[in-house]
Amino acid sequence: MSNVLWQHRLGGEQMIAAAFEYHRPAHLKGALGVLAEYGDDARVLAGGHSLIPMMKLRMASVGHLIDLQDIAELKGIRVAGGRVTIGAMTTQHEMIASTELSSAAPVIAEAAVQIADPQVRYMGTLGGNVANGDPGNDMPGLMQCLDATFTLAGPDGTREVAARDFYHSAYVTARGDDEILTRISFAAPKGGYAYEKQKRKIGDYATAACAVQVTMAGGKVTSASIAMTNLSDTPIFSAAAGAALVGTSGDAAAVKAAVTAAVAAINPTGDNRGPAEFKRHVAGIIIGRAIMRALSRA
């Protein structure tokens, strides 16, 4: 890549994506129509902050780019009847700024401010973050913790897929090529929460991250949900980790058992953030901290 940049400096060539045809439909129906017409040569564009870098590096090539920015029905946050519904095109910035969302599900803003930097958060959307399928994205693990439901619209109507069933492997999800993710919804969580993330610097993806929601009654944990980011080729929800906490007082031994169960469920690979063994070690610490913080707020 540095080579490409250098040629750009010398010859005035820009580091730029392969040519594509651009579509900006005003309605979901129009977007689905273009997707149906061009099949896997077409791709939707949300905030572009995962897709455009890939296109510039020519790691993704797209014949027809369908920009979703004008589709009003994909935007907005709604809290009603104990359920939170977020349109796929809602940005991280809008989620952080929403007082309604912050009171219904404060864990969302806690995670969103740990994503990238201000400029990226103005553009990056919740839908793009969860549809992307990159194990480094933070929202998929959180959505598994919240037991969220993804709504997909396709040529034959809409269907719903649980976040916990959506991720098959890196970049491979339950979404069909002809489907658009329209919204994400979940029951407004109760009790204590935490999103804990270890990263090398602001703007970096997680070395390890963990989302926790817990409820307590009469000094005992009554429910616990624990999911992890960037510790396998998909987000990991660990039912066993949650079960290790339920019925206990949330004492040190229970936290330790939950961490042990969670770490047993991950399968990290070594990369420039460190070898797999290091990541297991970091994961243990981050999961422990997330559980403790969530318990302290329950």
Binding site: A19, F20, G48, D117, Q119, V120, Y122, I202
Partner: protein, 164 residues
């Protein structure tokens, strides 16, 4: 070569129409077609923030926006915030507090700080640091940049109070 399309932009209050390939990056539309060389291309990989401009009220990295996406947008660059003869409060403050050395990051830094102060007119030091965390500076160590932004906020707020 891909097909070109008509692109309409309002930049620093002026309407422009131009033909561009959809894949062209906003940073090059601004620099090479509109001769607005304030926004810099530092990394071209969405990391440094030197290319930051304001688009429809958001701070964006213009190296990560296709020209086609910006069609219809209202954009402000550093050139729209002040001029050598009439520096904005932020520009004046960067000058007084030595908020720049080589100056490469400065247009992006000030354009970002401008939006930050629109949204949070009286930020704490920590909020300033967090608010400019998408802009890298290789020279200053950030200390004087943060000072300059806090001082600009105080000046703007002082002027507002005096006017009331």
């Amino acid at each position: 070569m891909g097909k070109k399309m008509q692109i309409a932009l309002t930049v620093n209050g002026e309407a422009h129409e131009l033909l561009a390939e959809p894949r062209e990056l906003l940073i090059y539309v601004l620099r090479e077609r509109l001769n607005l060389t304030g926004p810099h291309a530092g990394c071209e990989t969405s990391h440094c923030g030197a290319c930051t401009v304001e688009m429809n009220g958001k701070s964006v990295k213009s190296c990560t926006v296709f020209a086609a996406q910006a069609n219809g947008a209202t954009i402000t660059t550093i050139e729209g915030l002040g001029s050598p003869d009439s520096l904005s409060v932020l520009q004046q403050s960067f000058r007084e507090h030595h908020g720049l050395q080589c100056g490469y990051c400065t247009p992006g830094m000030i354009t970002r700080a401008h939006r930050l102060l629109q949204e949070n007119p009286d930020p704490t030091e920590e909020e300033v640091r967090f608010g400019i965390s998408g802009n890298l500076c290789r020279c200053t160590g950030y200390q004087n940049i943060v000072k300059a932004i806090l001082a600009a906020a105080a000046t703007i707020n002082g002027a507002k109070e005096a006017a009331e």
